[in-house]
């Protein structure tokens, strides 16, 4: 993957900023639409980006989402400064959530975030240091798309 041929854009996300939550994934969707990516792939990328964005908004102090786009793949690198995840295996289970009651009342924290990101990506890697932060790297391949 030649990075020079690609486009790379960094988006900053602020923790607890529920008012602006979702704007980054919308921007990413619009960029992918302008480039002419297949709409089914865009939808998967947008869902993955949205869940990652919401994780930062809900749990972390701040974070960044880096979109890298080459003719063969979409890459989302998400890094945050936050509490980190103690047990990643447990966090990856559907339905597991540490969301507060308030978050649940707002319709978040159903424990589908991380599983949803994995489900919508072709490659998925997660690492975390408790007390420091979490990073998630996601790749969606573009080669099978005809256009």
């Amino acid at each position: 993957m030649a990075e020079e041929n690609g486009l790379s854009q960094v988006f900053e996300i602020t923790g607890k900023d529920f008012g602006r939550a979702g704007t980054i994934s919308t921007k990413i969707k619009e960029i992918l639409q302008e480039i002419g990516i297949d709409s089914a792939v865009i939808r998967r990328a947008a869902i993955a980006a949205y869940e990652a964005e919401m994780n930062i908004v809900m749990y972390a102090q701040r974070g960044t989402l880096t979109l890298t786009l080459t003719p063969t793949a979409i890459r989302l690198d998400v890094d945050d400064e936050g509490p980190g995840i103690e047990d990643i295996e447990l966090a990856m289970q559907e339905g597991f959530s540490t969301a507060t009651d308030e978050m649940r009342e707002m319709g978040f924290g159903a424990g589908m975030g991380l599983p949803n990101i994995r489900k919508n990506s072709d490659e998925f890697a997660i690492s975390s240091t408790p007390g420091k932060g979490t990073s998630i790297d996601v790749v969606l391949n573009l080669n099978q798309v005809a256009e």
């Binding site: 041929n5 690609g6 639409q33 480039i35 002419g36 003719p71």
Partner: protein
């Protein structure tokens, strides 16, 4: 077919380049070049916002003049239920339909009954539906186009049940051709429309080759003549109560936002009007956040069809008129509505389903070659970073980001940015002064003290 038919056009002789339309356009489809507005066909979704906004009346809706009727041997008026909301509360649909006949139509269709049938059909459909949720109503053609253009992945959510006006035209033509021994082509079905977008849904349906309707006449055009034909509502042939009994309580509400949901009796449905609000809802649907909602009703005009740009009455007044009418019908226990068993029978025969496939209509990418498109998007971002980012619109593009795109695609030049030109001549570097500082609102006393200490 690359060119899309649109229901609105700019009259260059009237346009004086105020850019109001450009700023209000929700899909950034308008540019002002050389002092005249133009509409980018690919991006336009025919919402009519520009038409309502233009102070010069330079943006015109392409509806049919009433004179078109003479082309047909037999003509049928099919008014949107929004027409019923345009007149005083004492004027009920039967009088309005009679007035239309006086204006020269051979016949009329009370669309409210068809709307009621379609409500039942949607109920039937929801019962057996297992696809992606929510189902999104297709009643508003702008919403259908918005999905095709901006939310192509949601095309599968659009209701497959045809819209009442199309079903009405299809059926009335069949019936009248038989009754009068005419060819269906000799019968003209005209929709009385509250908005310009219904016109394109007739000239260029989103999903099929041809509409069953032959044209659309705007409520604004027909309002005056109709009012005189009805003699201002003085001609009462039947009692108020009798006229009420003819109103379909299920269908009449289709003129206002929430009117369809009200008839579906679902635990989870939602109704939204106004494009900015719709974008929020559709973003959430796309993120998968609304899977628990069964049905979503959306109208690009505030308050629904009564808020259309070709209506006469204030949208809040007409909204309320429909609401009061429903209340009256409920109070009087008049519940005229179609026969549900009949609807079920016809539903099973696929009577209500629209024909043809609704395809996404995604925007043209920056380039057809993926690598080049990525390169252009990169350039766009680089240009954007150098721009003032104040979205003044003086260049003729609605935002700095769209201007950057116009430069990359070659439809604008960097020198069109007046702010940059001014800064250059003043010897300022390309980036404008840092964003305005937020003034701290400390009590003046405290500040003064701080200064002294310093």
């Amino acid at each position: 077919m690359n060119r899309y038919y649109h229901s609105v056009k700019v009259d260059p002789t009237k346009c004086n380049g105020r850019m109001k339309c450009m700023r209000v356009c929700p899909t950034q489809a308008i540019r002002v070049r050389d002092g005249v507005a133009s509409i980018l066909e690919d991006k336009c979704i025919d919402c009519g916002e520009c038409l309502t906004e233009c102070p010069e009346g330079a943006i015109v809706a392409l509806t049919d003049p009433v004179g078109e009727l003479s082309k047909f041997k037999y003509t049928v008026a099919i008014p949107s239920p929004a027409l019923y909301a345009q007149f005083g509360r004492q004027i009920l649909p039967d009088e309005i339909l009679a007035g239309l006949k006086d204006l020269g139509f051979s016949d009329t269709v009370d669309l409210a009954f068809l709307c009621g049938e379609v409500s039942f059909a949607i109920q039937e459909h929801l019962r057996e539906y297992e696809g992606p949720k929510p189902i999104v109503s297709n009643a508003c053609p702008t919403v259908v186009r918005l999905i095709q253009v901006k939310y192509p992945s949601l095309v599968d959510h659009i209701s497959p049940i045809d819209i009442p006006r199309e079903l009405a035209a299809r059926e009335i033509k069949k019936a009248k051709a038989k009754e009068h021994g005419l060819d269906e082509r000799e019968i003209g079905a005209f929709y009385i429309t509250p908005c310009p977008v219904k016109m394109i849904s007739i000239k260029q349906p989103a999903e099929k080759e041809k509409s069953y309707l032959d044209g659309a006449i705007s409520i604004t055009d027909i309002y005056g003549p109709l009012l005189s034909a009805m003699d201002g509502g003085k001609r009462k042939e039947r009692s108020y109560r009798k006229a009420l009994e003819d109103i379909c309580i299920l269908g009449i509400g289709w003129a206002i936002v929430g009117g369809i949901c009200r008839t579906l009796r679902l635990k989870n449905s939602l109704a939204v009007s106004g494009l900015t609000e719709i974008l929020e809802v559709f973003d959430d649907i796309e993120r998968g956040k609304m899977r628990h909602i069964d049905f979503a009703e959306a109208y690009s005009c505030w308050q629904g069809c009564v808020g259309g740009s070709l209506t006469v009455e204030n949208r809040y007044v007409s909204y309320n008129k429909i609401l009061k009418l429903i209340e009256t019908l409920e109070f009087e226990e008049i519940k005229a509505c179609p026969d549900i068993r009949e609807v079920r029978k016809r539903y099973a025969q696929k009577y209500f389903f629209r024909t043809g496939i609704l395809e996404p209509r995604p925007l043209k990418p920056l380039d057809t070659d993926l690598a080049r498109a990525i390169q252009k998007r990169k350039e766009k971002q680089e240009i954007f970073e150098t721009l003032p980012q104040i979205d003044c619109g003086a260049c003729g593009s609605p935002t700095c980001l769209t201007f950057a795109e116009d430069v990359v695609t070659g439809t604008a030049e960097l020198s069109d940015c007046l702010v940059m030109v001014a800064q250059k001549s003043a010897g300022v570097s390309r980036k404008p002064a840092s964003p305005p500082k937020i003034v701290e609102l400390n009590p003046p006393d405290a500040k003064a003290k701080n200064k002294k200490v310093d």
